[in-house]
Symmetry: C2
C-alpha cells in the first residue's frame, strides 16, 4: 500500500498485535493516555483534592471537552457540550427544535439507528406532531416539516449522506435539521458551522475512543442558543447553578443543554482519549479510511455467498458491511481467530476501520481469514 501518514498513531493505542480489531465503530480502542489519566482522576483529583476538584477543572469539563470535539466537527468554541447519552441529547435536540413550531411533522431517516427513531416517535407523541419515516433520497420535505433527523453515516450499511445537500434541502423549505454524527465524528471532515446545521448530536465511544458508554455530545450553534429550550431543566444548566434558586433560568450559552452533575471519570477519560487528534489531520484520517475500506472491499468482493452493502464510491463512512446468510456464525468464527467485527441481524457482518489504529495489513489478514472460513 501507499505510504501511511498515520502509521505512527497506532503506537498511541493500547492494542494487542495478535488481535485484528475491526469494531471501533462500536467501541473504540483505548488510547494509552487514558489509563494514566483515569488513575490521576481517581487517586489524586478525587482522593487527595476531594470536593475541591469541582472548582479545579471538573465543573467546566463538559464545555472544555466539548470544544475539543467541536474542533473535529467544524464548530467554533462555545457550541458543543459533552453530557448524557446520545438518546438523551436527541430528546433535548428534537424537543427544542419543535418548540413553538406551527408545523406539523417530524421526518426521520427510515433506516435510522433505532434509538433515533424511538426518541423521534416519543417527541412526536409528546408534542402532537406527526412522525414520518422517509428514505434520505426521498425525504419529500414540505412547508409542514418542522425538523428532519438524519444519521450522517448509516449504522447498518455504512452509507455516508451528503450533509451539505440535505441541510440545504431542509432549509429551502424552512425546516430544521438534526444530524446524528455517531458514526462520523472524528473520522471525516465535518463542517457544522459552515453548513449552518441547526443541531447535531453524537456519541464519543465509537471512533472518538472515549470508552464504554462515555458521555455524548450536543451541538447548538451560537445564534440558536437563546431559543434552545428543552425540558430536561437540570440544575447544572442553570445560569447560576450554585445560587440554588427556586426558579430555573437557563444559562445564556450552550451550558443550558447540561442537565445533571457531569460524569467526571468518563468525561476525563474521553478528554485523555482526544489527545490522539492533537497532531493529526482529518483529511489524512479520511483518506486512510477510504483506502482501508476500499482495500478490504476489493479483497472480499466475489467471495462465495458474500454481498457488499457498503457503497463502493466515496459516499461511505469507515465501515464495511457485508451480507451473508450465516453472518452470525461467521462473526463468531472470525472472533475465535482474533478478528473482531460484529453482527447486525439478520444477515449483516460489520467491519469498522479506525484510521488512527487499523492497518492495511490488518485488512488483509481479516480478508484472508474470512476467505478461509468461506
Amino acid at each position: 500500500m501507499a505510504h501511511d501518514p498515520l502509521a505512527h498513531v497506532r503506537d498511541l493505542f493500547d492494542l494487542d498485535d495478535d488481535v485484528v480489531y475491526l469494531d471501533g465503530n462500536s467501541l473504540g480502542a483505548p488510547p494509552k493516555a487514558v489509563a494514566g489519566r483515569v488513575r490521576d482522576v481517581v487517586e489524586r483529583q478525587w482522593g487527595r483534592r476531594l470536593i475541591r476538584s469541582w472548582s479545579e477543572g471538573w465543573w467546566e469539563a463538559p464545555e472544555r471537552v466539548g470544544n475539543r470535539i467541536g474542533r473535529l466537527v467544524g464548530a467554533a468554541p462555545g457550541q458543543v457540550v459533552v453530557a448524557d447519552s446520545t438518546s438523551v441529547n436527541l430528546f433535548k435536540a428534537l424537543m427544542a427544535a419543535v418548540r413553538n413550531t406551527d408545523r406539523s411533522e417530524i421526518v426521520v431517516d427510515a433506516g435510522t439507528f433505532p434509538t433515533d427513531g424511538y426518541i423521534a416517535r416519543s417527541v412526536a407523541e409528546l408534542t402532537g406532531l406527526a412522525l414520518r419515516p422517509a428514505p434520505p433520497e426521498e425525504l419529500d420535505l414540505r412547508d409542514t416539516t418542522a425538523v428532519v433527523l438524519l444519521n450522517h453515516v448509516d449504522y447498518r450499511t455504512g452509507r455516508l449522506l451528503d450533509m451539505a445537500a440535505l441541510t440545504r434541502q431542509a432549509h429551502e423549505v424552512g425546516a430544521k435539521v438534526v444530524w446524528d454524527l455517531c458514526h462520523s465524528a472524528g473520522v471525516l471532515p465535518i463542517e457544522l458551522d459552515a453548513l449552518e446545521v441547526d443541531l447535531a448530536v453524537g456519541c464519543t465511544y465509537k471512533f472518538l475512543n472515549g470508552g464504554p458508554g462515555s458521555p455524548a455530545f450536543l451541538y447548538v450553534p451560537r445564534n440558536a442558543q437563546h431559543a434552545f429550550e428543552q425540558p430536561l431543566t437540570g440544575w447544572t444548566g442553570h445560569e447560576v447553578p450554585f445560587a440554588m434558586s427556586a426558579e430555573y433560568t437557563p444559562d445564556p450559552g450552550v451550558s443550558r443543554a447540561r442537565v445533571g452533575t457531569p460524569d467526571i471519570l468518563s468525561m476525563l477519560a474521553l478528554d485523555a482519549a482526544l489527545d490522539v487528534w492533537d497532531d493529526v489531520s482529518l483529511a489524512d484520517v479520511r483518506a486512510k479510511g477510504l483506502a482501508l475500506t476500499g482495500h478490504f472491499m476489493r479483497l472480499v468482493e466475489g467471495l462465495p455467498g458474500i454481498g457488499v452493502l457498503t457503497p463502493s464510491d466515496e459516499w461511505r463512512g469507515h465501515q464495511v458491511s457485508l451480507r451473508h446468510p450465516d453472518a452470525r456464525r461467521l462473526v463468531e468464527e472470525l472472533a475465535e481467530r482474533q478478528v473482531l467485527g460484529d453482527h447486525r441481524p439478520p444477515d449483516v457482518l460489520r467491519f469498522g476501520f479506525a484510521p488512527l489504529y487499523n492497518t492495511f495489513d490488518e485488512a488483509e489478514r481479516a480478508a484472508a481469514i474470512l476467505k478461509e472460513l468461506l
Copy 2:
C-alpha cells in the same frame, strides 16, 4: 465516645489523615477498591477484551449494580436500575407518574433541592398539570393531586422527613409519591418495598461514594413496572435491544427505565465502591451518624454568632447545617486548616458526617477549629 463498631471501615477508604473531610454529603470519599477496579476496567476489560466485554458483564451492569443499591434502600431485586443523572431520572419518574392521570396537580416540597423543582416545573408544563410547592408539614394533598415529590433529607437543613407517614398521607388521597433519596441512600435504613413507595430516585456520588458524577438510580416497584411509561425511550430500554427493530417495545421489567448506552467506567467504579457495605449493618451506620452529628452539634452550640439549622432530635440525616453571617469566609478558612465542609448561600455552613469513614475525633477537631476561627 462509646465503642465505634464501624471504626475499622475507615481503613477501606483512601483518605489523608491530616484532612477532616466533612463533605461526603456532596462528594463521598473514594473507597480504596475503586482505583484497582477502574484500572482493570480500562486496561483489561476495555483494552484486552474490547467489544467482547459488553457480553461479559457490562450490559447487565445497570440492573446488577441496581440490585446492590436496592439492598440498601429496602428494594427486592429487579426494581432498581442505575442510569443517567438524578435529574434525568426525576424526569422519567414524574412523567411516568402523571401519565394518563385525570388529576390536575403535582406537589413538590417547597424547600426542595433546586433540580427537583425545575424538573417538576418542566413536567407540569409539558403535561398541562399545575405545580404547587408546599412545605412538607402542610402538603395539603387532595383528590386532585397526581403525585408529590419529596426529598428524604433536606439538602440545606439536614432535616429528615417521615417517609412512612408522608407516603401514607399521599396514598390516603390516591396520590403517588416520588422520593428523592440523594442524601439518605446508604446511610439510613430505608424500606421502599415495605412502605409501598411508588417511585424513588437518588444519586450515588454522595454517601454511596460512587465518584464525581457517578450515575444515579431509579426505583420502580415490580407491580408498577408494566405501567411505567416514560418518554426517554432509548434503545437500551427496549425488550430486545439488539434486534434493532423499528418499533419501540419497552422491556417488561425495570430495564425499561434505561435509555442510552450505560456509562461503564463510572458504573463499575460505583460497583467497587459499594463493596464497603458488604459487612456493614445499616442500623450501625445510622446509630453512628446520629452520634457523630449529635456530638458535633453539642460542641458548636452556643459558639458566637452560630445558629443550628439541623434538628436536634432524630429527624435529621447525617449532616449538620449551621448559620452564620460570614458563612462563606468561615468555610474558606476552615478549608485552609484542612477541615472541608461547604457553603450554601447566603449564610449556611454544611458539615456532612459519613459514618463509614468519619470519626468522633474528626468531629472534635472540626468543632475546635471553628471555635478558634470565631
